[in-house]
């Protein structure tokens, strides 16, 4: 009997010891797991690119858009190299100049760069002086600021323009474009230049057609008739010869009612997180639930008020 009791006692001791071990191991393991939460060292450090002793080097580039009315849009882009990539420098003053045949710089005006680092100045081509070859020379100059070094660049372009004419024949829309450059002998055709037709959309321009000018500088491009316009069916059509070395960009724009009207009527939004109003069932459920709870709170408050206002009975 004593033997059996001893055996039971010893086995229960062993049993208890095993469980002890398991639980202590679990406790230890939980501690290890907790430390593993922080095992991944946060190596992130906000690393500022080291500023050069005399400032960051800036980079300027300038492009031009020539329009049929003779105006020239100068786009200057100011950038600095930051964090291994070039980024536009906002809020910086850019000076624009034209260069006379004698090499004298004539100030055109100052513009400030926007958030993307671009400053735009529109000048009249007729008021600019050309050199002996009939070219315009423009300079965009940044004087430098803070830790950014000054920079400048120049642009030489030949006066040219695109003339755009539109025609509707039955259900076919046609765009006729003539590209000419200025010369002392009158306008000269720009031959074999690629012309692209764009339509302005909400965020960017949609390319809808392209062609190449013939010997007369002329090209005819068919325009699609299934585009969505505004509520009056209008489309803003742009013809362009892009990024030529001699002329820069040549651009012509026209608004035509060649799209189909998109009804501006505000339709009810589908159910979504951004819907302005919650569904009525939700409002009803919310007020029932919240109301029920708070009414009970007020009932309880009233009970407490009753307790407080009760006069105690006279002590025996």
């Amino acid at each position: 009997m004593i033997m059996t009791n001893n055996k039971t006692y010893i086995s229960s001791l062993r049993y208890r010891r095993y469980l002890h071990c398991i639980i202590i191991l679990l406790a230890f393991w939980s501690g290890t797991c907790m430390t593993s939460l922080t095992a991944q060292e946060d190596t992130l450090k906000t690393e500022e690119p080291p500023a050069e002793p005399d400032g960051f080097k800036s980079k300027m580039s300038v492009t031009a858009n020539q329009f049929p009315d003779g105006s020239i849009e100068l786009n200057a882009l100011l950038r600095v190299k930051y964090d291994e990539s070039y980024q536009g420098v906002p809020d910086s003053k850019i000076g624009f100049f034209s260069v006379s045949p004698e090499g004298e710089e004539l100030a055109l005006g100052n513009m400030t760069t926007g958030a993307n680092g671009i400053a735009i100045l529109v000048v009249k081509g007729a008021e600019q002086k050309t050199d002996a070859d009939g070219n315009f020379t423009f300079i965009a100059r940044f004087e430098g600021k803070d830790a950014i070094k000054p920079s400048e660049t120049d642009l030489l372009i030949h006066p040219a323009k695109l003339d755009m004419q539109t025609e509707k024949a039955d259900s076919i829309y046609l765009i006729r474009v003539t590209a000419t450059s200025a010369s002392p002998d009158g306008p000269q055709p720009i031959v074999a230049a690629p012309v692209t037709i764009y339509v302005k959309r909400m965020f960017s321009s949609l390319k809808v057609g392209e062609g190449e000018t013939d010997e007369a500088g002329f090209v005819e491009i068919e325009f699609p008739n299934d585009l969505a316009g505004d509520e009056n069916s209008n489309l803003e059509i742009t013809a362009m010869i892009e990024e030529t070395e001699l002329y820069g960009n040549l651009t012509a724009r026209e608004v035509k009612p060649w799209g189909y009207s998109v009804n501006a009527e505000v339709k009810e939004l589908p159910r979504a997180l951004w819907s302005p109003h919650p569904p009525s069932w939700m409002v009803v459920t919310f007020f029932i639930l919240t109301g029920t709870v708070w009414i009970h709170y007020f009932i309880i408050m009233y009970k407490l008020f009753r307790i407080k206002s009760e006069k105690p009975a006279a002590q025996p």
Binding site: L26, S36, P279, K303, L304, I307, K308, P312, Q315
Partner: protein, 442 residues
Amino acid sequence: MMRTTNTGIQIQRIFAPMIERTSLREKLWIGMLLSVLAVGMYALYLQATVGHTVTGMRDNVVWGIYIANFIFFIGISYAGAVISGLLHLFQVEWRKPIIRIAELITVIATIIGPLFILLCVGRLDRLHHLVLYARLQSPITWDVLAISTYLTGSIIFLYLASVKDFAIYRDSTTLNLSKWKRRFFAFMAINYHDTPSQQKSINVAMNLMAIMIIPLAIIVHSVLSWIFGMTLRPGWHSTIFGPYFVLAAIYSGTGVLIIALYIFRRMYKLHDFILDKHFTYLGYIMLVLAAGYGYFTFSEYLTDWYGSETWTSQLIQKLFGWDEYGKLFLFTNVGGIILPILVVATPKLRKPGWITLASAIMVLAMWVKRYLIVVPTLETPLLPIQDIRPEYVNYSITWVEWALTLSGIALFLLLFTIASKFMTLIPVSEVAESHDEITQTK
């Protein structure tokens, strides 16, 4: 004049040193908690001035340990809400000595939990926008309203359960109270003198609150789960998330209650009031909840694993991968489900010490589980991120986050300590009435 029995006087005598004065040991304890809070304040200052870059949170993993803490604290608030509310409704006698501790856990945890949300908000200066531009269709708005309503309810519930005690302290000749404290108790007792009509009013109010607090607690944790469930993220978009969160909350709340009971029983020698059977009964509740929680866990991950949906599979691989979250995931299942069941199911281990140890490991496992709900999912984005720093893809806890987490725990303990200076942790009025019966059935 509120009268109490000898048991009531005995309880007052036990807690009198705490209520009447602050001992050197208590001062040291409070000083230590304040030191931890001071470190947390410095961490908060850094976070507010430098920004969230001092935390491990980035564009990809926008929630981290703070949200895990938030869910955890709201979860343990269930200790009072459900245990106390449910047991009150069913008139379970053995609940009486433990309800005060349970209700205090509820109120304090519900205060601490939302503080972690504030730590998570990047632009605290726009906090009022939550009210000004509240959108009823947003789960965040539901959460703000639900938690504030729940906190109000919990405070009312605690207060209702304490009114009689405040009246006893006010009229007590056992307690040697300072003037201001006696005035405070007189104010809190709201002229309660235990007249029949006052008794009726307080009982009606208590019953109403006991009924209200249970659905309210369920709604609060369901709403909390819907912040996750309403998003189309792998591991979150689940129909069982509501009941899963509710069950996990009651479960961890029970665990914290067991730990608190064990500590206070030892600290104040409350063996005459907090009996072994309290641990056994709470252990049974914990066992049932562990089984239910295990069933939900198995069901959730089996469904995810079987579906083999691309993003969900990536998440499952992370959770099961030994080099990623496998160890933690296994710990949550072994320590959080299997161990409590084993301990409570084994008669020889059904002792306060073992049950408390199992509860402590379970509570830790439940905290880790909250972490595993939040972080691995955010590390599994629907749109893969390429060619960026690993710190942006993976989350790791920084010292600032640890400091603020420990501060949350320190604040919890500090508020508990302060509360214990104003009320006995064993409700005098409740226990005094039924103590003879408890002693007989011990």
